[in-house]
């Protein structure tokens, strides 16, 4: 508990990704088994402790503290667990803190009725930081700015293994992951499970640069549409089915229709879409289904999910990844024709005769409502990560609009002394009484030298400060590039830009000549 508490405490104050990785590596290197395994489980949100913590904290606060003082404290601190950790009486003498393994083990064997007194006796043994960490651990939501992927990355770095290997093993093992640590430390062979669906790390693409296009030999590449959904992996072993996001998170709970009723064994690569009859719906329709723990039946009908398959990593127990794309594709097609898994279809491959023709298809993508093209080397194996020269994504040309800088916010980490996050707007309408309406936020697309100049502009033109945010005189025009515009009820303007970034800084352009909201609204897809 001591080392883990120190780790959480430091992580919670550390904004920099690299510093977080260092802290995590130090911990994984020095903490004993199985404690570090339970810590890893907590960091990756894989620890099902199912402690009814809210009720217990409520009981503890009522039975141990004056209710008026506790409420005033809680309201001031803003977090019940932290308030309880702080208000808890100091023991005065240094007692030995329980180990993480003791906590997990004891919880397994403690009846629900005994939990409050057990937790209370732990809190008596701990100091303030440890109490806070214990309550975070029990709550199951650490909120220290570490994603599951970052924790796995740190673990792989600790033992000089590729992150892909850790990801591939991940879904076949359970806390405290002793076989994982044994393998990482070189004590055993890599764990290999054949009876459960596992995640196989994805092959990713590079944006197609001008040089790539010139060098490209059309015959060597398969051409597909680039679908505007999210990349998923459907992994099934004898009817046990999982749906993984590109980072290996299990998102099957939100898509029950996709993970039930299959009885094949395969690992398939595809795009998750919302599809009504033959039409692929917009990305904002898909967003309705994402990031949910459970899903209502009405959602299933209103936003029907679908997977458009484009690759197979494994079919009926055979690992296809070493094979060429063309071979994998053939195997995928004949397998799909035989099984025809529900809620799936195949992403078509098309065959332009010349590069000119391909270019024309690409140029028409925006009109046809397609995100762009994918170009995949026909002879390439399926290689996890982002290998050079194998797969290219060729996104449709960006849309651009001239927007006016309205608010600037301090960045974090290395950028904390710079105003580097910008909210920009466009004019509500033409003529008298028009106002600027915010339409998006961006914090990339400019060089360091440009950042320094904008930072100076913000400081020299501040109207008002709201904590880390400043409003500025509406004067500086950004040419903003974005991929698409979605309707949005969350934004006052009623629109939301996808992937906005600053493409040019128009020091020369008067704010009065920036774009109108109606121009952007017309681009809604």
């Amino acid at each position: 508990m001591k080392a883990f508490s120190q780790l959480l405490d430091k992580l919670s104050y550390t904004p920099s990704r690299n510093a977080k990785l260092t802290l995590l590596q130090d911990y994984f290197r020095s903490a004993p088994d199985p404690d570090r395994g339970y810590a890893l489980a907590a960091l990756t949100d894989e620890l099902p402790l199912s402690v009814p913590l809210r009720g217990i904290l409520q009981d503890l606060s009522v039975s141990r503290f004056d209710p008026v003082l506790f409420k005033l404290s809680r309201d001031y601190v803003g977090d019940t667990a932290e308030a309880l950790a702080l208000i808890w009486p100091l023991s005065g003498v240094e007692k030995s803190a329980p180990l993480l393994r003791d906590v997990v083990q004891t919880l397994k064997t403690t009846a629900r009725s005994g939990l409050a007194s057990q937790i209370s006796s732990w809190l008596d043994q701990l100091n303030t930081v440890e109490r806070w960490a214990l309550l975070k651990f029990l709550a199951g939501a650490l909120r220290v700015g570490v994603s599951a992927r970052l924790a796995k990355t740190a673990l792989a770095m600790t033992f000089n293994k590729p992150i892909e290997d850790v990801e591939e093993i991940w879904h076949g093992i359970a806390p405290p992951y002793s076989e994982l640590f044994d393998w990482l430390e070189g004590k055993t062979e890599r764990p290999h499970r054949v009876d459960v669906p596992i995640f196989k790390p994805l092959m990713l693409s590079h944006p197609l640069e001008a040089g790539d296009w010139e060098a490209l030999v059309l015959e060597e590449f398969a051409v597909e549409w680039k679908w505007d959904g999210i990349r998923v992996q459907l992994s099934s072993r004898n009817g046990d089915v999982k749906l993984f996001s590109r980072s290996g998170d299990d998102i099957g709970n939100a898509f029950p229709e996709l993970v039930t009723g299959h009885n094949f064994s395969a690992v398939l690569d595809g795009e998750l879409l919302v599809k009504r009859t033959e039409d692929v719906a917009s990305f904002s329709d898909l967003q309705q289904r994402l990031n949910r723990k459970t899903v209502k039946t009405s959602m299933l009908a209103d936003y029907p999910a679908h997977i458009r398959l484009y690759d197979a990593l494994e079919l009926e127990g055979e690992d296809l990844r070493p094979l060429a794309f063309d071979v994998r594709r053939q195997k995928l097609e004949s397998w799909w024709n035989k099984i025809a898994p529900h809620h799936t279809d195949l992403s078509p491959i098309f065959h332009p005769d010349t590069k000119d023709e391909l270019q024309k298809i690409w140029e028409a993508t925006r009109e046809t409502g397609i995100e762009g093209l994918m170009l995949k080397r026909r002879d390439s194996a399926y290689i996890a990560g982002r290998p050079q020269g194998k797969w290219f994504k060729w996104k449709r040309t960006a849309l651009t609009a001239d927007c006016v800088l309205m608010y600037a916010q301090r960045g974090s980490g290395k950028r904390s002394s710079y105003f580097s996050d910008y909210t920009f707007g466009v004019w509500s309408h033409e003529g008298e009484g028009r106002t600027l309406v915010p339409v998006g936020k961006a914090y990339s697309g400019f060089s360091d030298a440009e950042l320094y100049k904008i930072d100076k502009f913000v400081r020299d033109n501040t109207i008002q400060q709201f904590g880390p945010v400043r409003s500025v005189t509406p004067q500086l025009v950004f040419e903003v590039a974005y991929d698409a515009v979605n309707k949005s009820s969350r934004h006052k303007a009623g629109v939301a830009m996808r992937f906005p970034r600053i493409s040019r800084i128009r020091w020369d352009k008067p704010a009065a000549e920036a774009d109108l909201l109606s121009t952007i609204s017309k681009q809604i897809t």
Partner: protein, 337 residues
């Protein structure tokens, strides 16, 4: 009830601050007045423009340095324990343990004794005289950290955290945000007491008060202005006002690690809002146990709470069977801590 009305007949909050009727003076008024008694030099207590002010010699010096033209035209120094008759009231100042020169104001009138304690703490602090307990009938207290969640660890332990971080990240400049009067010199003194003997670098705004503390015999060791540095101060300790943390001034340092020495750092959200990576819970103010201890020590039957989390302290004092109320004195700042 009878008694409390009597207290208020001679000491009461008014628009300009706490007013003593038979002495015709205000204590720490937030507007310029004819006659004031000042508990200590922090700017929310020592305002400019008073005609006459009674305070410790140190507080009067500090007011002169910080307020210049705004310092009281007539300064009436009173050393700790010295009795001064003001109107019909006997006034004496006793140490409050807050910063150099800080004092509690002891008022005797008509057989009653009231103490206006200003800001105070009970934790040890080698840069100022320690809080002195004086029994009284009415104790007027602050409540900056008046919630049971505030239990300040020992300042030495917090400074040890800073030195440990310096060892763990020797490539980073440790920039510590400190309030310029009191906190700055205390942190330097604590570092020296912990055996840190390298030069400590300071922001220009902190220089005058460090010089003043030194002139009063408080050893600070080698303290150098950042402006004189010829390197990016990798692995060094730099003290600056909190407002310079993460701002342009700090760009000159080697991957600066923002630290902040303040009682507020016990609350995580407070540290994160300010982008602090190393919170140091070092406070000039009494924490909750010290507030309650002091209320008990004075044996006062009535507790008046001037500023901070008054509600909780008033409630707790009432639970102890005391008469307690919030005065809602305006013009006090939490954030200067």
């Amino acid at each position: 009830m009878e008694k409390s009305q009597k207290f208020e007949s001679w000491l009461r909050p008014e628009a300009s601050g706490l007013y003593c009727v038979p002495g015709d003076f205000y204590i720490d008024p937030h507007q310029a007045v004819d006659r004031a008694i000042i508990t200590h030099g922090h700017s929310d207590h020592a305002r400019p423009g008073h005609r006459a002010a009674l305070a410790t010699p140190e507080t009067l010096d500090i007011m002169k340095i910080r307020l210049g033209e705004g310092a009281p035209r007539t300064a009436q120094p009173a050393t700790y324990g010295q009795n001064t008759r003001v109107g019909a009231v006997d006034v004496s100042l006793v140490p409050a343990g807050h910063i150099l020169g800080s004092a509690q104001v002891v008022l005797q009138y008509g057989g009653q004794r009231a103490i206006v304690s200003g800001d105070y703490k009970r934790q040890a602090d080698a840069t100022c005289a320690a809080f002195e307990v004086v029994q009284c009938d009415v104790f007027v207290t602050e409540a900056t950290f008046g919630l049971p969640v505030f239990k300040h660890p020992s300042a030495a332990q917090e400074v040890a955290k800073l030195l440990a971080s310096l060892q763990a990240f020797p490539e980073r400049t440790h920039q510590v945000g400190v309030y310029g009067l009191g906190k700055c010199q205390r942190v330097i003194q604590l570092l020296r007491a912990a055996g840190y003997d390298k030069p400590i670098w300071i922001h220009g705004a902190l220089r005058t008060m460090c010089d003043y503390y030194r002139s009063q015999g408080i050893e600070l060791g080698e303290v150098l202005p950042v402006a004189d540095a010829t390197t990016d101060l990798e692995g060094e300790i730099v003290l600056s006002p909190p407002s310079a943390l993460g701002d342009r001034w700090s760009r000159r340092f080697a991957d600066p690690l923002p630290c902040l020495a303040s009682g507020w750092m016990g609350v995580r959200a407070r540290a994160r809002q300010r982008g602090v990576e190393l919170p140091l819970i070092i406070s000039d103010h009494a924490d909750w146990p010290e507030l309650l201890q002091t209320v008990g020590d004075t044996q006062a039957s009535e507790i008046w709470v001037t500023h901070g989390r008054e509600e909780a302290l008033v409630y707790a004092a009432q639970n102890l069977g005391l008469t307690a109320k919030a005065l809602s004195i305006v013009g006090r700042e939490d954030d200067s801590e």
